[in-house]
């Protein structure tokens, strides 16, 4: 049954089929600080008893004005800022920004650099998926799986540290390649660690598939249909769990076709399918990394490129889905304007459609966690009038940039 909201401020829920107002008993605000939320966000639920009738997501607590700070910065500084849009998928942001600058530059980046970049990107994807699944298991109070997932993630972070020198914000990509080269011994150690990670991930996938308690909480809850995918533009593992494998942007990226990459997908689209799909992708990433190490081209890891400047639109498959950097670069590599579209915006918005089917409030919260939300990613599209505390613009990036330039 489809329902829609009517009116601006008050929560009034009207049934589309019958036209009658649905009675609600309580409004439950969750956030901005809540045990389940890693980041500030407010979810407003309208409930009747335990049943969730309506849901509204309120964002804007993390707005820092990154796009505005980036204007007028040389790429050497802006790459670090791009990384700090989001701490979990930081490498994807860095890679997307640097890749965009390379597309308006003379000459080709070093092939070895591109392969190494993809290698770290896949390691980043594994750790991001593991933390997403850990957050989901924490939200359904399965703390054993939470701690196991986090422990395995530590091993993946060791691999990232082995290659790049830092655990989270690596600063690894530069225009023309990567910052430092790797040695054979480093790659061997990474592969050894990943062998253990593979066994762990297989165990977790088996447990998630067979455990009756996880199945009770996850099977059939928060189903994203293909219609939802189309309407809300859901991207990433969330869309692939609903049977849309072609949403994977890795099919259009430079290195992946050489590795024989094929996206995985599942059909059910519920919480359990999303969790299992992330484990599938972890295993797929480990396979990809092994192939990268086999086919790693010899030669330099970095080339000097001359940046012509121009308008560029670069897309990368971040761990959460399609990430877009729409940039204007001036000759020499100074950023004139940048618009970032992160995958978490549609992925969180779809909660407004799927939460009203949840049997209880706890399931709505678990559904939110299963969408792998990343609030720090989102919050650039909001302009807030600080005197009145009102949101002026939300959503359209270009309008917001214009409004920001007016206010500051």
């Amino acid at each position: 049954m489809e329902r829609r909201r009517k009116g601006e401020g008050n929560v009034r829920v009207v049934d589309v089929e019958t036209g009658e107002e649905v009675p609600i008993s309580h409004k439950v605000p969750i956030g901005p600080n809540h045990p389940i939320l890693k980041e500030p966000l407010r979810i407003k639920l309208a409930v009747r008893g335990e049943e969730v009738v309506d849901c509204k997501v309120e964002m804007g607590y993390c707005h820092r004005g990154i796009e505005k700070i980036m204007e007028g910065m040389p790429w050497q500084k802006a790459a670090f800022l791009a990384e700090r849009v989001c701490g979990i998928c930081s490498h994807a942001h860095n890679m997307c920004f640097v890749g965009g600058v390379e597309r308006v530059a003379e000459g080709e980046p070093a092939p070895r650099g591109l392969f190494l970049r993809v290698l770290v990107q896949e390691l980043d994807r594994i750790q991001s998926h593991l933390i997403a699944n850990a957050a989901y298991f924490y939200s359904i109070e399965h703390e054993t799986m939470f701690v196991w997932n986090m422990n395995t993630r530590e091993r993946v972070l060791d691999c990232i540290e082995e290659i790049t020198g830092n655990r989270i914000l690596t600063g690894w990509n530069v225009v023309g390649g990567v910052r430092v080269d790797v040695t054979e011994e480093q790659l061997e150690r990474v592969l050894e660690t990943l062998e253990e990670v593979r066994e762990d991930v297989k165990t977790y996938r088996r447990i998630a598939q067979t455990d009756p308690l996880i199945k009770l909480r996850s099977r059939g809850v928060g189903v994203i249909t293909r219609e939802h995918v189309r309407r809300y533009r859901v991207v990433g593992p969330q869309a692939r769990a609903s049977g849309v494998p072609e949403s994977d942007m890795r099919l259009q990226e430079p290195v992946y076709p050489e590795l024989g990459f094929k996206p995985v997908s599942r059909r059910r689209g519920d919480n359990l399918a999303r969790i299992l799909l992330r484990y599938d992708e972890c295993l797929q990433s480990i396979d990809l990394i092994e192939r990268i190490v086999d086919e790693l081209p010899e030669g330099e890891h970095r080339r000097e490129l001359e940046i012509r400047g121009g308008h560029v639109d670069n897309r990368v498959e971040a761990p959460r889905g399609e990430l877009v950097y729409d940039m204007e670069i001036s000759p020499g590599g100074v950023v004139r304007r940048v618009t970032i579209r992160t995958p978490s915006v549609p992925n969180i918005r779809v909660l407004e459609a799927i939460a009203p089917g949840c049997p209880s409030i706890a399931d709505a919260v678990a559904t939110y966690a299963s969408l792998d939300p990343c609030v720090a990613c989102n919050e650039r599209f909001v302009v807030v009038d600080e005197r009145r505390g009102k949101v002026l613009y939300e959503g359209r990036a270009r309008e917001v940039i214009r409004a920001c330039s007016r206010t500051t």
């Binding site: 809540h34 607590y61 993390c62 990154i66 505005k68």
Partner: protein, 159 residues
């Protein structure tokens, strides 16, 4: 001179600490490093520190990220909700100084210490879990152990 009861209270308080983590607009990097403190490798819970996230029942507020304008009043309100004795630990370069966002064009209102009183600061972008654990383990019990005597001084000064 502290009485036995005061010393006992201080000892008990310093051995059982509940923690609330607040992200006031950071990039998440510090949050997941704090989360990593709960894995077996670092294991914050062996020191009696429990990740709670309910401000009304916690002793320590860990703040990450620069304070955005939307958070300024809410953070003050959150700080008032934490019962005495309380301590605030600012984790990360953003929480200590505003970091990379505290420059021309950034919509943040500066470091955490300009909004609420801060007891310890852990610099780094993001700091490693070892550093976060050592900061909490070093500073926080010391604050709670001496709180009974400090409370007496503060009351005396007011009178």
């Amino acid at each position: 001179m502290r009485s036995l009861l005061e010393r006992l209270k201080g000892f008990v308080r310093s051995r059982s600490i509940h923690v609330t983590v607040v992200n006031t607009g950071g990039c998440n990097g510090c949050d997941i490093e704090i989360l990593a403190c709960y894995t077996y490798r670092y294991d914050l819970e062996q020191y009696g520190i429990y990740y709670h996230n309910n401000p009304r029942k916690s002793d320590v507020l860990i703040v990450t990220g620069p304070v955005t304008y939307q958070w300024r009043e809410k953070l003050k309100r959150l700080y008032r909700k934490v019962p005495e004795p309380k301590a605030v630990v600012a984790v990360g370069a953003c929480a200590c100084s505003g970091g990379i966002f505290n420059q021309n064009g950034g919509r943040v209102c500066g470091p955490v210490r300009e909004v609420i009183p801060v007891d310890a600061e852990v610099p780094g972008c993001p700091p490693r879990p070892e550093e976060i654990v050592s900061a909490i383990v070093e500073v926080v019990p010391r604050l709670f152990r001496s709180w009974e005597s400090r409370r007496g001084e503060a009351d005396g000064a007011e009178a």
